[in-house]
Symmetry: D3
Subunit: 61 residues, 6 copies
């Protein structure tokens, strides 16, 4: 605890994910004063057929 | 914002998803008075091995 | 199943919520072909101190 | 209702999942006094590239 | 990890919650083979004005 | 999109939350290359009676 869930459309590289989870965790440590090793991050990726903005799927934009 | 997450077992067609996100977004616009383009929808699909009702996986029903 | 979670800032009336859950459920029935009574909707409201867009809390906008 | 979401790294067998959803559902029935058939469980699995603890992806640990 | 989120309507006692999180955690340990202290459980409670089944809010049922 | 949900026990100040959402958003912009104003963050706080680690509620630890 705390747990961070990131809901995103697919398409990021491993390098992008590696950097993201590191920086999200540091933001939690810095601001909430928790040790890094209690912070979990899960990226919940959706295919572009499964995510929409403005009522339009990302695969249709 | 607002964000809508739909947790469902896999097995819907692209056409079903396309219709769903359109209608969910319209429901948000109509009832909460927000512009469509601030509404995001993510469908979080699970394989039938990963979702259960009544304690029984969908792959076993 | 399916389950719909709506993540929103607080501030809607009961009438708005009543209309929203009705319309979201109808959207699910129409597009995914499920009976209404298997659809659950939960509105996860956040105080304006607990939700942000563009890195700025809603209480500060 | 209630809905249980389990966020986990991938790598469990069907047998493990089958046992988990059965036991989680029984825990809900026993403690919250609801009938089993209103309890849904969804396991939201992440590839080891998409989940981190302590700021480090599981694929890098 | 793993993280368990329970989405439920409000109205349970502290004793019910205490029993639930204990049993959910034991179910995870037994079936997924993880130590208890890496399992987190969060109960996300909704007022009866914020949760619906079959398109009808719990406060209206 | 992307949407970040932070599941945490209650007890942080407004200043801590203000700093957190700013830093989480910057982490998303830097690593995923999205503009800040498409990033939403919602902190889903639980009373200490509603969150557990190791099967024990935070109010009992």
């Amino acid at each position: 605890m705390p747990e961070i869930m990131v809901f995103a459309a697919e398409g990021r590289t491993l390098e992008q994910k590696r950097g993201l989870v590191k920086d999200l965790t540091e933001a939690m440590v810095k601001n909430f004063g928790v040790p890094a090793d209690v912070v979990t991050v899960q990226i919940v990726e959706a295919p572009k057929t499964d995510k929409a903005k403005g009522g339009v799927l990302f695969c249709d934009r």
